[in-house]
């Protein structure tokens, strides 16, 4: 029983780490890539704005909000599952 619990804990943590790494890569992608290539990307336009300007002013912050929201929602669901499992396990 103990080992099973320890196993599920490690799995929970590993899953969490994977999720964090994935979201962090996305965060890096929406922040630093468009900013680094801002000059080149300025020629394209989106919703009437130059792409680089729009990305830094509106796009990236909205992506940040969705990253934080997704992580909170996903982990909230996983925590609930874990609680249910530990209740039935006891």
């Amino acid at each position: 029983m103990r080992t099973a619990q320890a196993y599920s804990r490690t799995r929970y943590w590993r899953h969490n780490i994977l999720l964090i790494v994935g979201l962090l890569c996305f965060w890096w992608l929406v922040t630093f890539v468009p900013a680094y290539f801002a000059l080149e990307l300025s020629e394209y336009s989106i919703f009437g704005w130059p792409f680089s300007f729009w990305m830094a002013a509106f796009g990236a912050p909205l992506f940040f909000l969705s990253i934080v929201g997704f992580y909170a929602w996903w982990m909230g669901r996983r925590d609930q599952c874990a609680r249910r499992v530990s209740q039935t396990g006891d």
Binding site: A38, A57, P61, V68, Y71, D79, R83
Partner: protein, 686 residues
């Protein structure tokens, strides 16, 4: 929602009802004052009304929430619902620099100013992924508490206290300085008196009720600052384009601004004015290179000019200008070198064409786009890590009821912050349009009243001179400080004065809410972590809270005193606070949670290294700081590492801290079952 206990839900409903009534009441107050303005109430009284009513509101909430229970005092009883905690964090977070500075910086620097928006929002991703849930799981009172428990012993805790005091105090001084400026503008009372009145409002709140009172006041302050930011922007947007959504309006205005920029770059009279500035810059250069002889000869020349002007019965203004110039003449050769080099650089900037608003990495002072880009990326990274390391923001994850609520609270914080940050770029563009089309090309004889009012307040904020004496305003003749864009925005757009009062009240709310949070962080670091945990652990809960309140008073007055003495630039102070946080707390907290191997010595050495690298870089790269501490003249060139400006010093401190923590922890490796158990517990689902 259905899983929350009934009491929580009824608390939520009660809070929503209360704050809805508060919002309606505030709107009625604004409408009432608007009515009075139409009936002819003096402008100064509108300012007084906004100042007194809002400060009284905050103090009232503070008195209603007074407490002397430690859990209530330090962490608001740990039952602030996620939405409201998010709102309070947003108010805690948005300081004068956010409220006034962001749109102003965007106005002045265009795309480059977006570094602040990116950095200050992206940091919340780091808070949500790396810190907030684990700090809540740990669940004590302060950040040094966490360091003490995780790394063991008093050294990490005390270093944590030192860093918390350093970040928060620097930041607090900037806030109080901002409060002073705003109250002076709003009512015309003196700077010192303004600081102390506002301080009274802050103190009643945090002194009586601690975190509980501060949280509920901050929610109220957020509502006011949001209304104050959105009303003028939406009004301007509707006025200019008929479109109520500022972002949509700004995208069409931006094209007109860009066309106008292009026009102004090649306009004949603009070129003539720029040539005059260039001539002045060159004149200053000849003066500087002629030192030390020119120090004497220029003074002689000035005296002669004054005598001649008096003899010829020149106009009074001219004589007075010459007298003033002579009185302010640099006393020493070194002083002259510093003053003239600065004047030369200022003139040289004004001699350049306007930079295109939406073009990335355009710059009036740097020639190299690469250097501007590196600085942009460095500032973004530094602000992000700093956001995730500022103790007064991290402390807010302790006030939520659960780990899940802590995660959700970060989401709501970012949501409420974005409501304001996403309109700042639009505001900058709308104000720019007004200036480019209305002010530029108008006649000096009929300048609008706000120009006179604001240039009277401070010449560095707004200054328009008819350099080529043609009686018409050219863009190159206008000098605008960043603060004017938001504070004078309503007047620039021709909105009624009540909107200006509202904006000032919003800026005041932003400054006060941040000051409240910082004061609490400072006083709990000193009382809870230093006196109670280290010096006298047997102290009872009642006395602990009392001690914390006394320290709070002392810190508040110390900060007010410092604010009346240091006329440093606010943006640099704020940047310094972020650099300190990025290079001390962020590395040590992240490694403490995610790497079991990080130990006491690693943490201590890492924090010290991060701090030292940051401080050393700032001192050697910031001319006035270097002059102040080392006595080296500001005209000496500074040596920058990879062209990175000192405001982003944290990008050097943070990696150094990470490296040292890992290295020292590996060298002094020792397995510690207590720490392992603590970290394991942090990682468990709630």
């Amino acid at each position: 929602m259905s899983q929350e206990p009934l009491s929580q839900r009824s608390l939520n409903a009660q809070l929503f009802r209360g704050y809805a009534a508060y919002t309606v009441g505030f709107c009625l107050l604004v409408l009432l004052l608007a009515l009075f303005e139409i009936m002819g109430l003096a402008r100064q009284w509108i300012g007084y009304a906004f100042l007194l009513v809002t400060v009284a509101l905050y103090a009232g909430i503070g008195i209603m929430c007074r407490t002397s229970d430690p859990v209530e005092y330090y962490v608001a009883g740990r039952r602030v619902p996620a939405v409201f905690n998010g709102m309070a964090t947003a108010a805690d977070w948005m300081s004068v620099a956010s409220f006034i500075g962001v749109a102003g910086t965007l106005y002045l620097t265009g795309y480059n100013g977006l570094a602040y928006i990116l950095g200050w929002t992206g940091g919340y991703v780091l808070v949500a992924l790396f810190l907030a849930p684990y700090l809540r799981k740990f669940g004590r009172y302060t950040i040094p508490d966490f360091l003490g428990a995780r790394f063991g012993g008093n050294w990490p805790r005390l270093l944590g206290v030192l860093c918390a005091v350093l970040c928060s105090f620097t930041y607090l001084v900037a806030q109080i300085y901002g409060v002073g400026i705003i109250t002076t503008r709003m009512t015309g009372i003196s700077f010192e008196l303004g600081i102390f009145i506002a301080l009274g409002g802050v103190l009643v709140c945090s002194f009586l009720g601690g975190m509980r009172a501060v949280t509920w006041t901050q929610v109220g302050q957020y509502i006011i600052l949001l209304i104050a930011y959105l009303v003028p922007v939406v009004w301007l947007a509707v006025k200019q384009t008929g479109e109520p959504l500022p972002q949509v309006a700004a995208s069409s205005v931006l094209q007109q601004v860009s066309e106008r920029e292009h026009e102004l770059t090649h306009d004949q009279s603009e070129l003539a004015v720029r040539a005059l500035w260039q001539a002045r810059a060159e004149m200053m250069q000849t003066r500087v290179s002629g030192l030390p002889d020119t120090h004497e000869t220029e003074q002689q020349k000035l005296r002669l000019q004054l005598l001649r002007a008096r003899a010829n019965d020149a106009p009074m203004g001219e004589v007075r200008n010459l007298e003033r110039e002579l009185a302010a003449y640099p006393k020493s050769v070194e002083g002259a070198r510093m003053a003239w080099s600065k004047a030369r650089d200022d003139y040289a900037v004004r001699a350049t064409a306007p930079q295109p608003h939406a073009e990335p990495f355009a710059s009036r002072t740097f020639e190299l786009t690469d250097a501007v880009r590196n600085n942009f990326l460095a500032i973004v990274l530094c602000l992000m890590m700093g956001t995730a390391g500022l103790p007064h923001i991290l402390m807010r994850s302790f006030t939520t009821p659960s780990v899940d609520a802590a995660r959700k609270s970060v989401f709501w914080s970012l949501f409420f912050i974005l409501l304001l940050y996403l309109t700042a770029p639009a505001l900058a563009i709308l104000v720019k349009f007004e200036i480019y089309t209305d002010l530029v090309g108008s006649r000096f004889a009929d300048l609008p009243a706000w120009v006179h009012a604001w240039s009277a307040v401070d010449r560095s904020l707004l200054n328009i001179v008819d350099l080529n004496r043609d009686g018409i305003v050219q863009l190159a003749e206008i000098h605008m400080g960043a603060d004017v864009v938001v504070l004078a925005g309503p007047e620039i757009g021709g909105l009624p004065y009540v909107v200006s009062g509202l904006v000032a009240a919003g800026a005041l709310a932003a400054a006060l809410s941040t000051a409240d949070g910082l004061l609490l962080t400072l006083s709990s670091a000193l009382s809870h972590d230093t006196v109670f945990r280290v010096l006298s652990p047997k102290m009872g809960p009642g006395r602990r809270v009392l001690l914390s309140k006394i320290l709070l008073l002392i810190v508040a007055f110390a900060a007010a005193w410092a604010a009346t003495r240091t006329p440093a630039d606010i943006l640099f102070l704020v940047g310094a606070a972020f650099s300190f946080a990025a290079s001390t707390f962020f590395p040590v907290l992240v490694l403490g949670i995610f790497w079991k191997g990080a130990n006491k010595w690693g943490a201590c050495c890492g924090m010290l290294t991060g701090l030292c690298v940051t401080v050393v870089y700032m001192i050697q790269a910031q001319p006035w700081l270097r002059h102040w501490i080392l006595g080296i003249s500001t005209s000496e060139p500074v040596s920058l590492w990879w062209d990175i400006q000192p405001i982003a010093a944290g990008v050097f401190g943070a990696p150094a801290a990470f490296a040292v923590i890992v290295l020292v922890s590996l060298l002094t490796r020792k397995s510690n079952p207590v720490t392992d158990a603590l970290v394991d517990d942090l990682r468990l689902p709630d």
